[in-house]
Amino acid sequence: MNIVVCIKQVPDTAEVRINHETGTLIREGVPSIINPYDMHAIEAAIRIKEKKGGKVTAVTMGPPQAESALREAISLGVDEAVLLTGREFAGSDTLATSFALASAIKKLSADMVICGKQAIDGDTSQVGPEVAEFLGIPHIAYVRKIVELQDNSIKVERMMDEGHDVIEAQIPLLLTVVRELNEPRLPSLRGKMAAKKADIKKWGAADIEAPAEKLGFSGSPTQVKRIFTPEPRGERKMLSGSAEEMVDALIKELLQKKCL
């Protein structure tokens, strides 16, 4: 089975700080990581390969620095890696990103595409389903368990707001996965060696045969108008005294604020 995993290199958002004077992100010194959900996508793909045979290719779009994320993916057991990079991809929103990724995946002819449910920098969860639409294949979002995998079909559990659905689907298809699906492995020594030596393919717009007007800024219907820091939270009140006194004070406050 030919599996493509879409990954994204993101700043570790837990480490991001804000410059309150300028309202901008301070990303200096913030480590870049593979989007945590994508780690589960990589793990899922490798497990399928171990069972069914085939090949796993990781694809990412980003600046040249994103190559390190692909090398990390290879250290975990991914066979090949493609980096979509170049000026023509700059300024992409989710739609232009999805179009570029789908164009690349078409060249790789995948039986299955696996993505993390969302990236922790943008938190949109849009790229997976959009890629599926551009590829003309079905998708299942928020997959928490692969129940059964046949050559032409798959049965999975999809997380819903109030529980889960058991779904059957044909292959090819695209899955977006949540953390509950699996426990990502650590890189092996052999994997680390392979990662060092691996030849990362670098593709531009011409390589994926995508028209310039559908990529990057031109291909992006949405634009960021303004970035600002959220209003700071109001005053905090530490309650004091015995447990009973604190509970009484709390109930009084909550009743006043009409919270109960």
Binding site: P11, T13, A14, V16, R17, N19, T22, G23, T24, L25, R27, E28, P36, P63, G86, A90, D93, T94, L95, I120, D121, G122, D123, S125, Q126, P129, E130, A132, E133, H139, I140, A141, K155, M159, D161, E162, G163, H164, V166, I167, E168, Q170, E213, F217, S218, P221, T222, Q223, V224, K225, P230, R236, K237, M238, L239, M246, L250, I251, E253, K257
Partner: protein, 396 residues
């Protein structure tokens, strides 16, 4: 938008170099220069003391005929044969936008009954496009996206809203890709820019550390998923009149098939994202039994039970309860954090709650930094007291 440096203004002070996450700004011939690594993230725009870094419009972007699109649409989510509460919130927000734009508000309902459609009118819709085709009995992305995109192509609304729920966030991107227009995820604010009729969509990013206002200026419809519990529900007016338009779902098929829908049977109301009150527990509970206490309090306050990643990793409670960066983002009116230290990964998932109560033994726990009310002490002493006193109030 593409960014450039105005060479004559630049003093090569290098303030911009550190803020660029992509190492795309270099000093060349004594001036800052933006190279091909630029991802147009706009991070450098505000830092230049000379105002030398500006955005510029790039030519050759084909503009759509925006004026042929009129009206505001709301996708009314029908979940387990019930209209999801977020649908009424969308009608509230949609009504406000439609009145500002002086256009009609329409709802789209797949599945459900004609009575449900009438309900949407009483909550503010002028029209309801309704299909009760059996294909909509369960949620599959392809038929949902197929019919919604077809309806949009026929009727051309300028704005389309859906809930930022599991369903909305799964199939709206497919609609956006079919229509090749912009979709903004998980919005918490929606306003109209009067002169352009553009929808200003505000949403959190970077785990809630920053807010971004997003526009979709060149294409229509402008699509957004809206976070539950943020918008005010549309006012209920039983006398309100409107039109229900039945639509045919002919020719739709699905390559996915729902075999079974299982509702979580854990105690209390599990749907965290729509709960008004959430009682969350962390490692400080020390054992799975602690969640029984939390459930008791949740039942009393008609709330849901949440958890930190630590508690989920311990196996004390299921992942569907997890709040935080790798779990759910919630914003209830009242969030009670019990024995949760408050790692950033947890805070980003709950810090926009209206009122936060933190109960923790450690007075230095970072959870107290976001708390409205802080109680330092043993939760096993405090919670039973709180439950007892709330019961007394209820009995009165």
């Amino acid at each position: 938008m593409p960014v450039r440096v105005e060479r004559e203004k630049c003093t090569a002070c290098e303030s911009c170099i550190g803020v660029c996450p992509y190492e795309a700004i270099v000093i060349k011939e004594g001036r800052a220069f933006i190279n091909e690594y630029c991802q147009m993230c706009s991070a450098c725009l505000t830092v230049c003391p000379e105002g030398a870094i500006t955005e510029y419009e790039e030519g050759n972007v084909p503009a759509q005929d925006l004026d042929s699109y009129r009206g505001v649409w709301v996708f009314a989510e029908n979940r387990n044969k019930m209209i999801a509460p977020v649908s009424y919130e969308l009608l509230g927000a949609g009504r406000r936008l439609a009145d500002t734009l002086k256009v009609e508000l329409s709802a789209v309902l797949f599945g459900g009954t004609a009575k449900d459609a009438e309900e949407l009118i009483k909550r503010g819709a002028d029209k309801v496009y309704f299909s009760d085709d059996p294909i909509f009995e369960t949620f599959n992305d392809e038929p949902y996206a197929g019919l919604l995109a077809a309806l949009v192509n026929t009727h051309k609304p300028e704005v389309l809203l859906a809930g930022a729920t599991a369903i909305g966030r799964s199939f709206l991107p497919r609609v956006a890709a079919k229509l090749r227009s912009g979709l903004t995820a998980d919005c918490t604010g929606l306003e109209i820019e009067a002169e352009t009729r553009n929808l200003v969509q505000t949403r959190p990013a970077y785990g809630g550390n920053i807010m971004a206002s997003i526009l979709c200026p060149r294409t229509r419809p402008q699509m957004a998923t809206v976070r539950p519990k943020v918008m005010k529900k549309g006012e209920y007016d039983p006398a309100r009149k409107g039109e229900v338009i039945r639509v045919e779902a002919g020719g739709l098929s699905s390559r996915t098939k729902v075999l079974e829908s299982v509702k979580d049977i854990s105690s209390g109301k599990v749907n965290l994202q729509e709960a008004d009150v959430i009682i969350s527990g962390g490692r400080g509970l020390k054992n799975p039994e602690g969640f029984k206490l939390l459930s008791e309090l949740a039942a009393l306050l008609n709330g849901a039970v949440g958890a930190s990643r630590a508690a989920v990793d311990e196996g004390w409670i299921g992942y569907s309860h997890q709040v935080g960066q790798t779990g759910k983002t919630v914003c209830p009116k009242l969030y009670i954090a019990c024995g949760i230290s408050g790692a950033v990964q947890h805070l980003v998932g709950m810090q926009s709650s209206d009122y936060i109560i933190a109960i923790n033994k450690n007075p230095e726990a970072p959870i107290f930094n976001v708390a409205t009310y802080g109680l330092v002490g043993d939760l096993y002493e405090i919670l039973p007291l709180l439950i007892k006193k709330l019961k007394e109030i209820k009995e009165k």
